[in-house]
Point group: C2
C-alpha cells in the first residue's frame, strides 16, 4: 500500500523500493564472474550436471558450457569438473574453489547493496 | 603483463581484475532505474532526443520510449520531457529530477564498487 512508502525505513524493508546489485568481475578480456555465472555454479552444485543446470536456468547447453569454460580458464584451478566422459551425458561437480568463489561473490553482492542503504532510503523519497 | 597481477593494489588499479557494479532499483513491479535506463538518460541529455539517444545505444526507438515511460511513471515527476509533438521528430530533455536521479545512481554504483575493494583484492589472488 502507498502508506508504507511515506516513511522509508533505513533497512529499506518498509518501502516498495528494492535494490538488486549485480557485480561483473572482468579478468583480462573475460567476465570471470557475474550474475549468470554465479547462478550457473549454484545450479550445477544443486543438480550435479551442466545440462540439468542449464535447463533449470533456461540456458542452452552450449552457453552453459562456454560460461564454465571461461570460469575454468580465468581462475587458478577449475571451478567445475566434468566427470566420466564430460559430454552432455556426464555429471559435473563444483570444486572447493568453485564453492569458495560463489560464496565470496554473494558476500560482495550483499556488502555492495548494504553500502548504499542510506542512499536508497533517500532515493525512495523521489518515487511516486 | 602478468607481473601486475602478483601484487594487487588495494585500489585494484594495478591488477587486471575489474569490477563493474550494476544496480537495479525496483519500484513495485517495475525497474525504476538500472544500467540501461541510466545510460539512456545520459544519452538523451547528450543528444536532446530520444530517437538519437536510442540510436547511439543501438536500442530500438520503441524500447527507449518504453524505458522513458517506465521511469516517468515511477518517479514523482517526469525524468524526461518530450518537446513539440513528442513523436520521433520532437526533441526531448532530461528534467532537473532526471539529472538528480542519474547523479545519485552513478554515486551509488561508485560507492557499491568501492565497498568491496578489499574483497576484490583478495579475489584477485584466485585468478590465474
Amino acid at each position: 500500500m502507498a502508506a508504507s512508502k511515506t516513511s522509508p525505513s533505513p533497512s529499506g524493508s518498509a518501502t516498495k523500493l528494492e535494490l538488486k546489485p549485480q557485480l561483473r568481475i572482468s579478468f583480462r578480456k573475460s567476465i570471470a564472474m557475474g550474475p549468470g555465472k554465479a547462478d550457473l555454479l549454484e545450479s550445477i552444485a544443486a543438480t550435479g550436471s551442466i545440462s540439468a543446470a542449464a535447463r533449470k536456468l533456461a540456458m542452452s547447453y552450449r552457453r552453459a558450457w562456454l560460461l564454465v569454460d571461461t570460469m575454468n580458464t580465468c581462475f587458478k584451478s577449475p571451478l567445475v569438473e566434468t566427470l566420466t566422459g564430460g559430454a552432455q551425458g556426464g555429471g559435473a561437480q563444483v570444486t572447493a574453489l568453485g564453492h569458495d568463489v560463489v560464496k565470496r561473490y554473494r558476500e560482495m553482492e550483499k556488502k555492495a547493496g548494504e553500502s548504499v542503504t542510506r542512499e536508497m532510503a533517500e532515493f525512495s523519497d523521489l518515487m511516486r
